[in-house]
Amino acid sequence: MTTEQLKTKRDKAVSSDTRQKSGLTREQLLNAYRQMRLIREFEDRVNAECLTGAIPGFTHLYSGQEAVAVGACEQMTDADYIISTHRGHGHCIAKGCDVIGMMKELHARRDGLNGGKGGSMHIADIAKGMLGANGIVGAGSPIALGAAIACKLRGEGKVAASFVGDGASNQGTVFEAMNMAVVLKAPKMFIFENNGYSEHTGASYGIGCDDVVKRIEGFGIPVFEADGFDFFSMYEAVGKAMEISRKGGGPTAIYATTIRYFGHFVGDPQNYRAKGEVEMYRNEYCCLQNFRKRMKETGELDMASLDAIDQEIGALIERAVQEARTAPRPLPEDLMKNVYDNY
């Protein structure tokens, strides 16, 4: 994905005039910024903790994509469901998972969100409607379809969404789920999140057709395009899609283009990326800067309140790391906890 292609997508994206007031309340705006900043800070710190060896295992970071998760989840309540990907921390935070519990989980601690038995790729909080990050690319869409079937049966206007990376968008499971969602008229949202790379391979190589949006539309699913660097574009696109699904109009899709600031995993040397690419995206395509810029232009929020959030989040993440470091490690007997058959 080149910069030019990303710009084209931005032109097509759902977006109100960025010079206009957003129409959101002060509280909503502060919350949106807080959530995005929380993800950015969390991931930057997780990167550092992985590099020191404090966090074991495989970790995939979401930095750069924050507007996608937050723009989507700010349209939802705990009674709506999402399922995430192997790059799941951002979706978990956006859906309301406790960041201290998450940090403890990444540090493999006993009182982590999953009891230290899930780790980065499996963070889940069912009560928050967060059906898990998932280590299997493309596995989430059929599962979210099941949650959507439950929503439909209950008839309360709730929705289930799966986040689908550009890599997962080529998996047969996603195609199966798209078709079945249409057949069953399920309130299921597919949030395609093209971050430019499927592991170490460019999305433009792995996606064989010229137009992903048309491919999704071919299933009979309406697609709303969004600028994945712009909270408001995502929020508005998801809002339009939600309106259809909540009223029984069946599945919908979002197609958002974005980029990840880090490699596929922490420690990825990223030889597949041109020199300067990441720096360019960090400087020119930053959802936090975009958000601030609009707030400044419209005068909806003063910069001091956003600075205060930055401070508050910095302190929260520091506390999370300190608590995670000193939290108790799992005990040997935890190995056999939540096992059905002690053979």
Binding site: H122, I149, M180, L184
Partner: protein, 335 residues
Amino acid sequence: MTKKTMREAINEALHQEMARDPSVIVIGEDVSGGAGGSSGQRDAAGGVFGLTKGLLPKFGENRVIDTPISESAIIGAANGAALAGLRPVAEIMFSDFIGVCFDQILNQAAKFRYMFNGANAPLVVRMTVGAGRSAAAQHSQTVHSLLTAIPGIKVVMPSNAYDAKGLLLQAIRDNDPVMFIEHKMLYNDACEVPDGDYTIPFGEGVLLREGEHATVVATGQMVKLAAGVVDKLAAEGIRCDLIDPRTTSPLDTELILESVRETGRLVVVDESTPRCGLAADIAALAAREAFFSLRAPVQMVTPPHTPVPFAPELEREYLPDAARVERAIRSVLAH
């Protein structure tokens, strides 16, 4: 109490549990059937073997869900619906098709409780197994050993209509993923089945015949076969314990070991292939836990380590038969 076939018993269990619990849904290919057909008739199939007949007219399309042929989406949807608080009963028709949706069983359903700090995932996956109808290599396999090897799912394998109903009601009420394995050659077998509600707990096998000379453990269709041989030998004064574990995960190891410690002789009759299979697993259990009670090498009566053949005479050759079971029992008695 009336005589019912296993087909009728399973169908009755589904009807009763769907009526009792509004969170139970049924999902799969042709579970109703007829959608989009030119006759306009719904409930045209009720499942390819008729197990889900009559559910759609009674419980409606939101709870009896006909799907496209998309096994990954079916089992994935059952997983998601279960996490979201429903009790889905998914059908993947022939157990061979788990190859298509194995990720949703191996990496998803089986992992939720352990990985997600105790999350409930109360789903049931019904599937038919077994050779005997010349359905060839991709519609005849018996996959319980494969599934039993996966920690995190329960595996249930009824050998008769009574057990089928009680185990299915238990499976639907269980808070964990249950693989419910139905042998296609048993669907028409009938026995006394109560009309009302009853459950059979998992991990409790049943001692079908009692005898001091040898222990015979059999599963699924093999129970009927083994019972015939055990009864025949009883007429000669050779008396065997015959155990049907009913569930292979959890497995009633105590019942098996108690018997083996008394008889000192063990024959396992199982329709899955011999390598890393249930028969080998039970043989290893006896070797590990009852070694000094054993008076003869354990005998495994299983198909050979081959795919299931199509030709009827080859399929007969493939399946364990009464002669092989009898030889195996006589061979342990020879020591």
